[in-house]
Every structure is written in structure tokens, then in C-alpha cells.
Symmetry: C2
């Protein structure tokens, strides 16, 4: 049966000051009325009922995630004692899902991406499920909108023939986040996809791959497995996590595995990585400003301005500037520095202004 494992990590500091340590990106409605996490769960709900949706997040955020997703059984929100990157998260998800359903196919996905057409997303998942049942590792490839350097890329190989629906290819290789020239080359070739960070596989298959390519990690999960559902579970997980290194699923498994497929996404996808993402998803005024809340612009173009309905933000004579107002903090920066908001928040913390971070 199909299970979903939501990998809910990251602080989303690039969305400061709307996102904070205690209200990360996935818990806030950055685009749309609902939080990114709620949107993710709604997207898969027609395929996966709540009892088969597993959320893996940090121990600190687990209570907030449970509150955000009240339809999920509380035990389906698991808090990691510390961050050990995506391979560890996938491994923990796999051992839990496998213990519940040895025949399970797992859809692993981040909890904070944006998908344009949920129907097409589900069609891709169903196509991926067929391929996963062939014991392959499945990825979802996004046709590049440009030579983006903040994503990994997937080089596709031969077409895997199938029914009507999304095209599926064998994967030749994974490419880590490239430099601009490499990215431009890959985009021109037409044979590369952005790696969306969504994966699919049988739980038993990924556990075998982990045993082969990341034996220490697999061994730790084997020690966790008997504790699952017992009162010692959290303590055992903590003990094992303490001994593990941070390792990504791409590095631990995907780049080494032999039989990987890529489903070509027919849906729009966005990782909503920084404030400039709002331009792609929000309503714009006549001058091309993406605005939300009580915003007043005069001679401003290409700006991203966000406030609530009571506090007026007036942008005069600005070009390509991000302004985000929240009750206790306001950010102003040029659009081309939006990725450095993360750095700004780190500096804030370093200077002791933690009440705002």
C-alpha cells in the first residue's frame, strides 16, 4: 500500500521575519490561505489516508506539527532528537513504515514545496508507484525553468515504456548543485531535470539499498526497529542518532544506486526558496509588484511587499526591493539579496537579537 513520509525540516530562515525559529516556513501560509504543510497533506490526501501519512520533524517542532495536522494520529508525527540530514530521516521513515506494512511503497517528500496542479502531481505519484513496485528507486524530475544553481540535477537515460501518463526514464546519474556554466549546459541539453527532493520506493527496497551503501546508518535503524512502539523508543532513537553523521539521501544512496528511475513532472513545482518566489505565485499590481496586505506603491516596480491588513507599507520610487512587515520586525532588501536573509538571521542571532530570530 502507498504510504507518505513527510520530511519536515529546515527553519526556512529565508522567509524571516514571517518565518521564525518557532514558526518555520512550513507552518505559515506563504503562498495561499493554508500553510505549506497543510497544502502538502491535502495534495496527497486522495491517495493516502491520514493513518498512512508519517511526518518526521524535529523533536522541538513535533507538537506544532501535530497541532497543524489534527487529522493525523499523534504517533504519526515523529520528532528526531537532532538533525542528521535526509538519509537518516528517510531511513527512520523506512524502518517505521516497513514495521507497519512490509509491502509498503513510500512516497518521501518535503513538507514545504509548492505544486501547481495537484491532479498532475497525483498522476506522477501513481506512475511512480508502478515503477517502485518494480523494485526501482524513483525520483521526480522537474523540467528546468532556467539554469538554477541551488538545485541538484538528474540526467535521464532511456525511456521506460509504460501506459499513458507521465513519462518515466532510467536515471543515468545525479549531479550535485552545479556552477552556472554547468547548469546552463545541462538546461540547453534538454536531458536534465531539477531534482525536486521527492522520492518513492518500496520500504524494503530502500532498506536494502541503505544496508549496502550506508551500512552504519542501516545498522542503527536495525537497533531502533525493536524499540518502535515501546516506551524506550525515543531514548533508543536519541542514542542511535548521537552516533550518526549527517548525510543526505542523494549522497548516501541515490548517487550510488544502480536502478533509479525519474518520473517527468507535468506539474509546476517550486521549492519556495526565498521571498522572490512570491513573484511567481502571488497577484501582482499593474506595475508588477507582488503585494499582500495594506500596501501602497508610487513609482515602484518589480517589488515584493508583504504586510497585514492593518499596517500600511508605502513603497515610493523603488525597483526590485523586498519589504516584509510583521508586528515586531520588518525586512527590507534588494531582490537579488533575498537568499542572504538566512545570513542576516544568523547575524541577528550572533548579535544576541534572538527574540527576533
Amino acid at each position: 500500500m502507498l504510504h507518505a513520509v513527510l520530511m519536515i525540516g529546515g527553519s526556512g530562515t529565508r522567509f524571516w521575519p514571517l518565518s521564525r525559529k518557532k514558526t518555520p516556513k512550513y507552518l505559515i501560509p506563504i503562498v495561499g490561505e493554508k500553510s505549506m504543510l497543510e497544502q502538502t497533506v491535502e495534495r496527497i490526501a486522495p491517495l493516502v489516508p491520514p493513518e498512512r501519512i508519517l511526518c518526521i520533524t524535529s523533536k522541538e517542532m513535533a507538537p506544532a506539527v501535530r497541532r497543524a495536522l489534527p487529522a493525523l494520529p499523534a504517533k504519526n508525527v515523529v520528532g528526531e532528537p537532532m538533525g542528521r540530514d535526509s538519509a537518516t530521516c528517510v531511513a527512520l521513515g523506512a524502518v517505521i513504515v516497513y514495521s507497519r506494512d512490509p509491502e509498503a511503497v513510500m512516497l518521501c517528500m518535503p513538507g514545504d514545496s509548492l505544486v501547481g496542479d495537484a491532479g498532475k502531481f497525483r498522476a506522477a505519484v501513481l506512475a511512480g508507484e508502478d515503477i517502485a513496485e518494480m523494485n526501482k528507486l524513483v525520483t521526480f524530475g522537474i523540467r528546468p525553468a532556467g539554469p538554477e544553481t541551488r538545485f541538484g540535477y538528474i540526467h535521464r537515460g532511456r525511456l521506460i515504456p509504460g501506459d499513458e501518463g507521465p513519462k518515466v526514464y532510467q536515471v543515468n546519474r545525479f549531479v550535485e548543485k552545479p556552477d552556472l556554466a554547468t547548469a546552463e549546459h545541462m538546461v540547453r541539453s534538454g536531458d536534465y531535470y531539477w531534482n525536486s527532493g521527492n522520492f518513492m520506493w518500496r520500504a524494503d527496497v530502500i532498506l536494502k539499498e541503505l544496508a549496502r551503501h550506508a551500512p552504519d546508518l542501516h545498522a542503527a535503524m536495525e537497533r531502533i526497529r525493536p524499540a518502535l512502539g515501546t516506551r524506550q523508543c525515543a531514548a533508543v532513537i536519541r542514542k542511535e542518532y548521537e552516533g550518526l553523521k549527517r548525510i543526505s539521501i542523494d549522497y548516501a544512496v541515490m548517487e550510488k544506486a544502480e536502478d533509479v528511475a525519474v518520473v517527468e513532472a507535468e506539474f509546476d513545482w517550486d521549492d519556495v526558496g526565498s521571498w522572490t518566489a512570491l513573484e511567481r505565485h502571488c497577484a501582482k499590481d499593474a506595475a508588477g509588484n507582488a503585494v499582500a496586505g495594506q500596501v501602497f506603491t508610487l513609482d515602484a516596480t518589480g517589488c515584493v511587499v508583504q504586510t497585514d491588513e492593518r499596517h500600511l507599507v508605502a513603497a515610493l520610487g523603488l525597483k526590485d526591493v523586498v519589504i516584509v512587515h510583521t508586528p515586531d520586525a520588518t525586512l527590507v532588501c534588494p531582490k537579488d539579496r533575498a537568499n542572504d536573509v538566512k545570513k542576516l538571521v544568523e547575524e541577528l542571532e550572533r548579535k544576541g537579537l534572538t527574540k527576533y530570530s
Copy 2:
């Protein structure tokens, strides 16, 4: 005896959102701990006691001005029923002062300028008083810091010999707000001053000049004079004001009068005309940002950032940008558009956002 007439007008919309219709520029502490108006009164206090300080403001603002200056007798704050520009304001001040003291010398000054050295300002006033007693009209000339086009200029003539102290010259002519080329020429010549909008004269002398150059205005004041101190006073002033045209003292009298002197200011003077004025008077951080309140900057230079101590404003990667945060409204604009904040506020009103204007 020396009297002061403070001409307290203008909404100071260029300091929006800190200044508002109900709290104009002169009532707020833009530079320093006290409001511009309080600073003005403190500056002249050693020369002019409260009972000889007359404030002329709008009818709407008179109560707030009385509250801001509790040491002044309430009758010394006069509210004009409508704005009729500086000549009308001077004329009303002159007729009131003359009715109290026919020998009075009047120092007319705006209530919202900044003076660097109050002692030197008072020295200039004392020099001006001697000249005013010679039945001359007296202006105060500021040595131009640059070819500013938003001020009128004063062309000085021969030196009027006198005691030690500020130099005093006969005035050749007044120049209205010039274009840039004319301003540059005047600044290079060294014979021109900025017109600071401070004036000094005997009350009887300015009334005679008004009778000669602005007879309608003078006649209106002659009809107001017998009503002064009576219960009909406000009604009479309203009736007369309704019939008057808007006219500035420069246009009505100064440009036409034959015997005008200029006292060369040895004090720093600033009309604090827009947010960029803060750069000249506020503390700056290491990167040259003029900041006040809970401000955090990263890679920002030449910015003017103003907030309170609780609300954080973070400026990332900005150059020469003004950011002003207040509890219900925030302004962001490039420094070179700071003068257009006035226009922004007009647009706000036009769009019905009057709760913020």
C-alpha cells in the same frame, strides 16, 4: 522690547509616517529629544520671555500648540481660520504685537527649523535688533552649503558698519527659488545667502511697509485691530481672512522694500526639509547609516533608518534608502525621492487612505 512671532504652519508631510495631519513636523522630536517647536522656544527664551512669544498657527492645531508650550499664556497662541501664507501671518502678528507694544521689535521665525548653536543664533538676533531699531527690515542669511534649489537666495550689497559681532549687509535683492544653474552661479559668487525665513523688524515699520506694498492686507488688519481681545475677535479674523489672497512675505514686501538688511548667520541652520536631513544631525553607524531605534543593518550603506526600540527594522544590502517604521505605517523610498514623500501622502489621501495621512 523684543517680541517673537512663531509662524507655525505646514503639515510637514515630508516626514510621513512620523508626522501626520494631527501631529505635524513641529510637534515631534525629529532631531533631538524635544519637538522642533520646543527647541525653537528654548532657543529664544533667554532673550524673550513667554509672555512676549506669540504663536500663529492653524485653528485646528492651536490646542496642540498650547499643550506643547504650557509656559505661554493661552492668548499667545492664535489660530488662523485658514492658511493665507506668510505675509498674512506676519501682518496678523504685527497688528497684535503693535497693539501690545507700539515700540516692539518683532522676530518672526518658523517653528520647525534646526539651529546648531543657540548662542550664535541669539547673537545674530541681538545684532538684528540694533538694525531693526534703525527702521530697516532685517533678514538672516545662511552661507550656502551647496546649490540648493528649494530655498530663496539673498544678494548682499555693502557692509553696514557696526560693533563686533555678526556682519550685517544691505540687501541688493531677493532671488526666488532658482534653477540649479542659477543656484550654482550664486553659490560660486560668494555674495548670496540662503533665505532662512527668519525676519526681524519693528512692528510699526512692517505695518507701514504692508500699507504701502499690500494695502488690501493692511486694510484687513486695520479692521481686525479693534476686535483684538474682544469676544468677536475670531469671527472678525475669519471674515477678513476669507477675503484675502494667499501671499508670501517675500513676494508681498521683501522683494519690493527699499531698506532691507541681512545679518550673516554664524550658526548652522537646517530647515529639516525631508528625511535625508537626519543624515546631517543623527548619529551614524560605521557604514554611514543614520539609524534610530532597534535597527539592524548588514551590507547597508548611506541609509536613513528610523524605528522605535521594540520593532526591529533589518536593512540588508541596501544603499541610500530611507526606511521609517511607525506603529501603523512604514515608508521605504530611495533617498533621492525623499522630497516626494509629500506627493505620496497626497496620493494616499486621494485613494481614501486618510486614516494613515
